[in-house]
């Protein structure tokens, strides 16, 4: 049974990988501008925060919950930390730590509301979504230091730039960190107590509680881990967004959650994989980056992205049905 389930999941990941290759091929054939290293660089630049949010939210989604506060949360932490750098002279390193602390704090709040006080995840995180959006709006539009400014070193976490101007070479080192994080969290999900209990809560919470798992604690921890990754995403967001604007961020969570579903996390919870999330996000990113190159207008971009999501969720449902029939 376990073996069977595993092969199906890896199937979905394989399908998604094929989709990525197919999309890349289509875009490359249709637009010679798309076939440039700089296109890949830009796509990677903007993928890091989406991916980090997605890795985080994979865990609540596997428990059958959701975290709607990731988008506004990310922008809120980037705003508050950026304000500390700009207006209060904090070093950038301290601001980065602040992002993580805020992420963990809001994650813990979500966890307590959902895991201990039994609020529905949709409702609880909708509230924290509003709270973070409002809290972020207390700050003014905030640019973090640019690459060449004091404190701009944090950009090199994601991209190393050698040389200046047109002859500069750029290396997307962030991609390496992402692969390491994905593999690490895939390991955590499948080979640690925390990961297995996350899946157990998603499969059947009552059974998990009856078998002696401290469901409340692990349920809270799921949201704390999610919050930590949103904190990381805030740093990645600040590195690519010239000016972090208050009042923005709503809607960003949908790209991340969409990517997770494309990657094969069950819409009902109970199984999923971080590697799946990784490939799923790149489907979303490819669509976002590639569609403008083939001259498709905004409305069509949204329609196509929506259709891809429907197909992904349909595959999941068909899989479930097959499993039930077995």
């Amino acid at each position: 049974m376990t073996k069977k389930k595993k092969s199906i999941i890896s199937d979905q990941r394989f399908i998604v990988l094929l989709v990525i290759i197919a999309l890349s091929a289509i875009f490359s054939i249709m637009s010679k501008e798309f076939r440039q290293y700089t296109t890949l660089l830009s796509m990677l630049d903007f993928s890091y925060y989406d991916l980090l949010m997605a890795i985080g939210v994979t865990f609540p989604l596997i428990t059958g919950g959701v975290d709607l506060s990731i988008g506004t949360g990310m922008v809120c932490y980037a705003l508050i930390a950026g304000t500390m750098v700009r207006s209060h002279g904090w070093p950038v390193a301290a601001a980065m730590v602040l992002c993580l602390v805020l992420g963990i704090a809001i994650g813990a709040l979500n966890g307590v509301l959902i895991g201990i006080m039994n609020l529905p995840p949709f409702l609880a995180t909708l509230c924290t979504c509003m709270i973070t959006r409002g809290a972020g709006s207390l700050c003014s539009a905030t640019p973090w230091p640019g690459l060449t400014q004091d404190g701009g070193w944090f950009h090199t976490i994601f991209k190393i730039t050698v040389g200046t101007g047109r002859s500069a070479s750029r290396y997307p080192i962030g991609f390496l960190w992402m692969i390491i994080l994905v593999l690490l969290m895939e390991f955590v999900l499948n080979h640690t107590k925390f990961g297995r209990y996350t899946i157990a809560i998603g499969s059947n919470k009552e059974a998990a509680a009856l078998s002696g798992i401290n469901v409340k604690f692990y349920h809270v921890m799921v949201y704390v881990v999610c919050g930590l990754f949103v904190g990381l995403a805030a740093i990645a967001y600040a590195a690519v967004t010239p000016t972090v604007q208050p009042g923005t961020g709503a809607g960003l969570e949908m790209d991340a959650i969409g990517g997770v579903f494309v990657g094969g996390v069950a819409a009902t919870g109970g199984y999923g994989s971080v590697i799946g999330t990784f490939v799923g996000i790149f489907v979303i990113m490819l669509l976002k980056t590639g569609l403008p190159y083939v001259g498709l207008q905004a409305n069509w971009q949204q329609i196509i992205t929506g259709l891809v999501l429907i197909i992904a969720v349909l595959i999941d449902i068909i899989k479930e049905k097959k499993k039930a029939a077995m």
């Binding site: 709006s137 207390l138 700050c139 640019p143 009042g247 923005t248 809607g251 976002k288």
Partner: protein
């Protein structure tokens, strides 16, 4: 005699000094505000969109100057952020309840203040909208609108861009592309600004004997006036992109798709988000610069903010167009005073001003360049 001369000279000098001090503002004062005096010491509530950006600080600077000149007072109020629509509506309602002599309003959301405007019309409180016009306001509720002439502001961007790329266009072997990134195709100010740029650019190109096509977003393609060629055989294609959502990321994707065309020679980002999107795309591509003859793509921005200001300063952007929050605040107080006196008013359009690295610190420009 000497003494008389000295006195006469010093009086003259004082007069000249006084004149020059007031020329900056008084020179452009519309006819309807000339010789305006307040009939009473009015007090006006002024609703700004927020106190977040220095844009609104500049607006208040203008209000303060006008209030001092006219002997009226004002209180600026605004919510925490421009998206706190409900808060602003509450503030507006509270202000109306105290029956002010007039109300200045920069609405965060134009549709949510319609009821309040109706109340004002019923109570006979004159309303002057500034920064943002309200197209579907109840009949007779708005005494005067003080807003940027966005079509003019867009055309200023086109004129300055064209000066920089004129020779490249004239000497081009094949087709060249001029890009425009608009954050949406729905807000009136962006529509007018984007359209103003396109129409002026078409006019300038055709005056030099070039054929032009407009391609991309349907709204802007259909709104463009005078395009005389198809995309396939035009000398110049104005490529208009609108992202699916108004984020810097998606603006950047659109900008990158245009900038990576080999024959792209210039690009315009029509507001702060779009212009920052262009800059974000350029962070990897590195094609923008101020020397068109040398192959640089000429970038032009809109509005200010520290990122765009830095790009203008270091030559990544040729320049940008700023609105004049200072003048909008200034005229809004004049319009309110005139309306409270019972005068009938015409709308007051304010100009967009070109700025580049040479004039950023000028005293007419600097106060409008918020961070």
């Amino acid at each position: 005699m000497n003494f008389k001369k000295v006195v006469a000279l010093s009086i003259c000098a004082a007069m000249v000094a006084g004149m020059s001090a007031s020329t900056v503002m008084a020179a452009d004062l519309p006819d309807q505000f000339k010789d305006l005096k307040a009939n009473e010491a009015y007090e006006f509530p002024m609703m700004v969109k927020s106190f977040q950006s220095t844009y609104w600080d500049a607006a208040q600077e203008g209000m303060k100057k006008a209030a001092e000149e006219l002997g009226v007072t004002y209180t600026a109020q605004g919510p925490n952020s421009e998206s706190d629509i409900a808060d602003q509506v509450n503030m507006v309602n509270t202000a109306i309840a105290s029956n002010p002599a007039g109300l200045g309003l920069a609405a965060c959301d134009t549709s949510s203040v319609l009821d309040a405007l109706k109340d004002c019309a019923d109570k006979g409180i004159p309303v002057v909208t500034f920064d943002t016009g309200i197209a579907d306001a109840p009949e007779g509720s708005i005494a005067c609108e003080v807003c940027t002439d966005n079509a003019q502001a867009g055309s200023v961007a086109a004129e300055n861009m064209y000066n920089a790329i004129k020779d490249v266009v004239a000497n081009a072997d094949g087709q060249v592309v001029i890009g425009e990134v608009n954050q949406d195709a729905t807000a009136q100010n962006i529509q007018q600004r984007g359209g103003g740029f396109i129409d002026k650019m078409i006019e300038l190109l055709q005056a030099d004997g070039k054929t032009v096509a407009v391609a991309g977003n349907e709204f802007y393609v259909n709104a463009a006036k005078g395009a005389d060629a198809t995309e396939a055989d035009a000398d110049v294609v104005i490529q208009v992109a609108v992202p699916a959502q108004t984020t810097v990321e998606l603006c950047s994707n659109e900008a990158q798709a245009i900038l990576s065309k080999e024959n792209c020679i210039a690009i315009f980002g029509s507001n702060q988000t779009a212009a920052e999107g262009v800059l974000a795309a350029n962070a990897n591509l590195n094609v923008l610069g101020s020397d068109a003859a040398n192959g640089d793509v000429i970038g032009v921005g809109f509005d200010a903010g520290s990122i765009i200001k830095a790009a203008v300063q270091d030559g990544t952007f040729l320049g940008a167009v700023t609105q004049s929050p200072l003048m909008m605040g200034y005229y809004a107080i004049y319009a309110l005073t005139a309306a409270a006196n019972g005068q009938e008013l015409e709308d007051v359009p304010t100009d967009g001003y070109w700025y580049d690295s040479t004039n950023m610190d000028d005293e007419e420009i600097a106060p409008n360049l918020y961070d």
